[in-house]
Amino acid sequence: MGMYYSTQEVWTWWIAIYLFLGGLGGATVVTTCMTNMYVKEHKPLVLWGIVSSFVMLSLGSFLLFLHLLNKFNVIHVLNPMVLINKPDAWISWGTQFIVWMMVWSIIYALPYMLETPFFTKMPVIGTVLKLFAWLGNLSKKFHKLIGWLAVINSVGTVFYTGLLLQSFPAVALWHNPGVPLLFIVSAFSTSMAFLLLVLYLIVKREEDHALRVLYERTDVILIGVELLIIFVFFHYTTYGLESARYTAQILWNDMGWIIGFVGFGLIVPFLIELRGVTKGWGNPTPIVLAAIMVLSGGYLLRHYFMYAGVYERPYPAVNSNAHHAQLQPKTTLEPQG
C-alpha cells in the first residue's frame, strides 16, 4: 500500500509559544540564580530575570490552559500526586516543574523584592509582599538552598519541553534523542540573549562588563553547538525515514526556516557575537540586535518543529488531524498494488 504523509494542526503556534516561553523562562531562572549564587551577587538581574520568567511561564501556561477541552480537570495535573499516579507522562512532570519553579524562584527573589520600592509600593502586590515578609526573611536565611530548588525545577522545565515532543513516536522529527538536547541548548541560548538585553538596555551598569562578556561568550558557544545539532538534524531528516524526508522537504524549502531561523536566528547573531567576543564592538547596538535575533530564532525553531512534524499512515488523516495538509505521496511512493 502507498503511505500518506501529513503534518498536524492539533498543536500549532500556541504550543510553540508555550515551548518557547517554557524553555526561555526556565533557562533564565537557572542563569540568574547561578549567576547570583556563584558569579556575582546581582539584585537587578535576579529581579528582572525571575519576574520576567514568572510572567513568561504564566503566559505560556495560560495559552495551554485556554486550549484544554475540559479546563476544570487541570486540577489533576496541578496535584503533586500526579507524579505518583502518572510518572510516565511528561506533561505531569512538566506541570509540576513549572509550578515549583515559579514558587521557588519567586521565594528566591522575595528578599530583593521586599527591598525594592517599585514592588513594595505597587498596589495589591505591595500589600501581598508585606504579608509574606516573614517568608522573605526565611528565604534570606536559606537563600542558596532555595536557589538550588528553583534551579532544579527550572532545569526540569527546560528539559521537559523537549521530552514532551520526544514522547510522540509516530513522528520521526520529534521521536529522537536530539530534540531534548536541541531544545535545552536553544533555551539557554535564548536566556543569554534575554539577559543581555536586560543588562544592556535596562540595568546598564558599567561594572557588569565582565558579566556581559561572560554571557556573550556562553551564547556564542551555545549558538555554535545549536548549529551543529541543526546540521545533525539536516542529515537525519534528509537521509532518514520517509516521513523524515518529508520533514526535510518542508523545512529546507521554506525561507522562514532557512533565512529566518538558520540565517537570522543562528548564523548572523553567531557572527555578530563572535566578533564581539574576539574584537569587541564600540557600542552595544550589534549585541542588542543579535540578542533580538536569537530570541526570534528561538521561537521560530519551535514553530517550525511543530509545523514540520510529519506523520506516516496507510490512509489519509481524518479525525484529530482533520485539518492536516495532506502531503501527496511521491511517484515512487504511489500504491504499487
Binding site: M1, Q8, V10, W11, L64, H67, L68, L69, N70, K71, F72, N73, V74, H76, V77, V82, N85, K86, D88, A89, W90, I91, S92, T95, L164, S167, F168, P169, A170, Y311, E312, R313, P314, Y315, P316, A317, V318, N319, S320, N321, A322, E334, P335, Q336, G337
Partner: protein
C-alpha cells in the same frame, strides 16, 4: 491471567464492501460528533493500482488499534486514558482535561475532539438518549460496554460482509486467535512498537 481475554479485531479487506454501516452503527452506539465528520471508526475509499494500468477500488476501515503498548496512554497526564486487563484501551471522560497529547501521540489518527459545543449539538442530534456528559479527546472503546455484556462491538455486529471479526487472542479456539496465529492477518505500522490489536487481511498485493 490465562482466563483473562485479550480482545482483538480482524478486518478482512477482501470482504469489506464499503457500505459504511459500521460507521453509522458506531456513531449511533457511541454518539460521536459526526456533524463535523469525526468518527471512532472510518472507512477509507481508496484506489489501488497504477495510473494507466489496472486500478482497483478498496475499502480500508480503521479505528483505534487498542495497542498493547499505547503511546496515547503513556503521554496522558491525568490517567484518563487507561487499559483494561482484557486489552481494551479506554478514555475516562470525567478525568480527561483535553490537552490532546494523546492525539499527537497516536500513530493511527484514532483520536477525535468531543468539545462542549459538540455536547450541545449532540443534544439536538441524539436527543434525550445522549449519554455523553464531559468534553474529552474521544476514541473507539471496542464497545467495551457491549463486550462486557457478552455482545460484539456495534461495528462488528452490523458488518454485512463479515469483514470485521472480534475475538479473544487468549482463546486458542477463537477464530480471531486462529487467524492471527496463522499470520495471514497483519497489524498496521507494527514497526512503531505499539503492538496494535487490530489486524488486517489484505489482498492488496494482488491488485496489480
Amino acid at each position: 491471567m490465562a482466563n483473562t481475554p485479550h480482545y482483538a479485531m480482524v478486518i478482512d479487506l477482501n470482504t469489506c464492501v464499503g457500505c459504511n454501516a459500521c460507521m453509522a452503527a458506531c456513531a449511533m452506539e457511541n454518539q460521536t460528533p459526526v456533524w463535523k465528520n469525526q468518527w471512532r471508526t472510518y472507512v477509507h475509499d481508496m484506489e489501488i493500482g497504477k495510473e494507466g494500468g489496472e486500478v482497483r477500488r478498496r475499502f480500508l476501515p480503521r479505528l483505534c488499534n487498542h495497542c498493547d503498548n499505547p503511546p496515547c496512554m503513556s503521554v496522558c497526564p491525568t490517567g484518563a486514558t487507561h487499559k483494561l486487563d482484557n486489552g481494551i484501551v479506554l478514555v475516562d471522560d470525567s478525568l480527561c482535561m483535553g490537552c490532546r497529547a494523546c492525539a499527537m501521540a497516536c500513530p493511527y489518527d484514532a483520536r477525535l475532539d468531543m468539545t462542549n459545543d459538540d455536547l450541545e449539538q449532540g443534544k439536538g442530534f441524539y436527543g434525550e438518549l445522549l449519554h455523553r456528559e464531559h468534553p474529552s479527546v474521544d476514541k473507539c472503546s471496542f464497545c467495551a460496554h457491549r463486550v462486557m455484556k457478552g455482545l460484539k462491538p456495534a461495528c462488528v455486529e452490523t458488518c454485512v460482509g463479515f469483514s470485521r471479526q472480534f475475538g479473544d487472542l487468549n482463546d486458542p479456539n477463537d477464530p480471531v486467535a486462529k487467524i492471527v496465529e496463522s499470520g495471514v492477518a497483519k497489524p498496521l505500522m507494527a514497526h512503531l512498537g505499539t503492538r496494535p490489536n487490530v489486524y488486517y487481511i489484505s489482498d492488496l498485493e494482488r491488485a496489480t
